[in-house]
Subunit: 162 residues, 2 copies
Amino acid sequence: MKQDIDTSAALRAQLMNRLAFRLYQCANLLNKTGTKALEAHDVTTQQWAIIGALVRERWAEGIAVHQLASLLMVSRQNLTGVLSRMEDRGLIERKKSKVDSRSRLIRLTPDGWKRWEEMQADIAGFYDGAMKDLSNNDLIHALHYLDRMRENMHDVDNTQGG
Amino acid sequence: MKQDIDTSAALRAQLMNRLAFRLYQCANLLNKTGTKALEAHDVTTQQWAIIGALVRERWAEGIAVHQLASLLMVSRQNLTGVLSRMEDRGLIERKKSKVDSRSRLIRLTPDGWKRWEEMQADIAGFYDGAMKDLSNNDLIHALHYLDRMRENMHDVDNTQGG
DNA sequence: AAAATTATAGCAATATATTGACAGATATTT
DNA sequence: AAATATCTGTCAATATATTGCTATAATTTT
């Protein structure tokens, strides 16, 4: 009976443990270093992700909070807090939807767009460091694995009553 | 002039953006689903990581806070908060070091060890879902990429005055 | 030996993330 | 049409993460 690497439960458990731990460390470091890299722009990593989403999705009137929360995979409540801080600083605006008066449509202000442009050089500089020595092929593979895990955990989430 | 996939700056920037975003989403989902999976044990994902580290590193007297913080790659201040909540619930104990009276040595209590054992079945169940359809080879590769990124960001961190 | 520097844990302030809850709006069922 | 169920954004409470700061201890420099 050949002890194949793919059939060793203890090895697999160890790999999964290490992978989860690595994910934990990476995410914390991404938050820390990303926020520091954009310090001059007064934009945290999380706010950067939100601005990036708003830039990418050019809805005519903006996007509803629950849609943005779904896209970012964070809770509506947390997003409300982050958006409030961004609105206070003039990066985004909230507008009551004409279609559904409960809904608030979120979009970047002209200042928000300007901030995005101003950030680009520092974003590029940050990525140079964070993705150093990773080829495009590496990036594609890493993306594939994280994608797989995200989908898996999304399913787990739904199973848990999401 | 051949437009090679490895030389396209726009593609690379897009990949890096998507990778960072995926990391953000995955980490949040890991925190959410991991904590939910261990709900019966009243242990969050972060506390699980700490217990795991304490289990793995079997120092005779325990580990100092700054060492544990370094291992986990989180700040001492944050760790202090998490440890306090764990101590309050009897999972860990803090003991003044005989060698350096400023230092607090952290280790699991007997209850902490027992909690770790009790968690194993639910941990395994969670991993089954989160790592579904990923072979051991996949796990090894994913680990490699996250490792690479972690090291890169660690270097960036040091450059930023970490 | 004294002075200066560095290290330790933890307090405080702020940002992010979750869950529970809820007023009010909207959609579905009766 | 009325009753019921669901949805929307946000408040509140709690956990996690960062930075600045500090009293005290330890180490290094003078």
